[in-house]
Amino acid sequence: MSESYESLRALLSDAGYDFVEPPIVQDAGVFVELAGEDLRRRLFLTSAADGRELALRPDYTIPVCLGHLATGPAKRRANYAYLGPVFRQRRDEPGEFLQAGVESLGRTDRQAADADILKLALDATRLLGVKKPSVRIGDSGLFAAMLDALEIGSAWRTRLARTFGDAPRLRALIDRANGKAEPAPLPDRKAARAKAEQLLAASGLGVIGGRTADEIADRVVEKAAIAAGIGERPARILEKYLAIKGDPKAALSAVKALARQSRLDIGAAVEQFAARNEAFTGHGIDLKQLSFAADFGRRLDYYTGFVFEMHKAIGAKQIVGGGRYDRLLGMMAERGKGRSPAIPAVGFAIWLDRIGARR
């Protein structure tokens, strides 16, 4: 069915995306730095003559973004499309498979860009013969707004934020954060720092660029805050929030009601959510076709907002994954150091092998 791939290419090109073909053999370190050790076991690895670790590209997003950074300023607008093989160790599927997708970089009208991406993904899957996919959507920006509005202290805030996307673990974490709130004695930062410094010096670790005595002392103080928990009320509100699900219109009402009831100011995030819903409707997407879950997200720290997944049927393997990753380009450009600036980026990838369309 080479026609369907040709028409897919035409669809993506006509939508304004330029096809790129980054090298298949990539520096493995980039993937492990950005996506974590857990990805490494899924990489096909080899090494260069000089000992560098190389990998067959496991996806297009990171190589496409590397190409973007290598060819001009990070913040410029660009639209990339791709169709070709990617390589991952998978248990009961072939290690080499075809993906197609797009990356839309630099658009500051984020909600409109999110909607354009979902629309294009729906058009692409329809073209490939999937008429009524089940579409799950989520929004980690909304969760972040909840954490801000509840004024959760930084130690718990980062714990909760990084666990978002792993629903059972997040619930267990909130359970543990709940209620304790008995004030712990404030630790003596100065003494902690002196102790850490002395031990670092004794083991010769002081000079090699690992954790410093200051970092260790800061965290000794932070641990006291963690022991205190977040309090019962914020925990209960978070649990209520995470239980919200339904089509995005109904979900929006539920989120608004919860915010009103609990007197939380999450206005900006709610407005963005509403604007995105409107943009969906503007594209002729039936909101009833989408199912939002407040606890749905992707556990990669460069995903920052809207995320979605498509399945042929509920419970079947994912055929499309997409979302907003405003933190990735900044992390790559700054080599992860410091707070990277947000650079708008949103895209999707289609598992062509799982759709069953053949070349």
Binding site: E33, G36, T158, T163, L199, R211, R335, K337
Partner: protein, 233 residues
């Protein structure tokens, strides 16, 4: 019909201990003639062949079904074979080679006592240092599984081929996953084991391959070997 193949460690204390355990139950291992470094037999017992291999190799051969029985540590089995339960039967513990596979961090990390602390440190590490927290180990799969089980994602493994405990002091990695028996080597290197950082309690085991071909003669030979062990209990 061919022989029952038992893989036995080819060197060091593991070999001596294996030899001694077999001798104690009345199975004397004899290294055999031509290629005596790699093959042997059991005195007075036909249909059994001894193959000498390194400990990781034994685990691999058991998983591949290339040998029927083997002597190797639980750490090797669990590290080398992804679905160990489906492929390996732990026939019996042999009472030697005890060690723990542990997560150990610098003693100077006075704020880190548990895996949860380590998760916080791992997540906050990159913004400070521009790189991920690194773990030196030769137990790559055990480490990945254990860290994933604790929800830790923000780290990377640096494969270590020896003297892992020295990695933090040389700057090769921030912490380690390694085996320890008494903890004294770790302490000498300024490291401490996390409270919930024991990944695995290991010991040398006689293991059987569930995927090897077992014909009647080989099964019978296994019975004879097992009877010797039972009789000595």
């Amino acid at each position: 019909m061919s022989a029952l193949v038992i893989a036995v460690p080819s060197k060091g204390r593991l070999q001596e201990n294996s030899q001694a355990v077999f001798a104690r139950v009345g199975l004397g291992i004899v290294q055999s003639g031509s290629d005596r470094r790699y093959r042997g037999r059991i005195a007075g017992m036909a249909g059994v062949e001894i193959a000498y291999m390194s400990a990781p190799e034994i685990a691999r051969e058991i998983a591949a079904g290339a040998v029927h029985l083997g002597i190797t540590g639980r750490d090797q089995i669990e590290e080398t074979i992804p679905d160990a339960a489906a492929k390996v039967d732990y026939v019996r513990a042999l009472g030697f080679g005890q060690c723990d596979v542990v997560v150990a961090v610098p003693e100077a990390w006075i704020d880190v006592a548990t895996m949860e602390d380590l998760d916080d440190v791992a997540a906050g590490f990159r913004p400070h240092h521009g790189r991920r927290l690194t773990v030196a180990t030769k137990y790559i799969n055990l480490t990945r599984r254990f860290f994933a089980g604790h929800g830790i994602a923000d780290y990377r493994i640096v494969e270590s081929l020896g003297a892992t405990e020295g990695a933090p002091a040389t700057g090769a990695a921030d912490l380690i996953v390694d085996i320890t028996t008494t903890g004294s080597t770790l302490r000498a290197n300024g490291l401490k084991v996390l409270d919930d950082g024991v990944i695995l309690k290991s010991e040398a085991h006689l293991v059987a391959s569930r995927v090897a071909k077992w014909d009647a003669r080989q099964s019978k030979a296994l019975d004879v070997v097992s009877r010797h062990f039972k009789a000595a209990d």
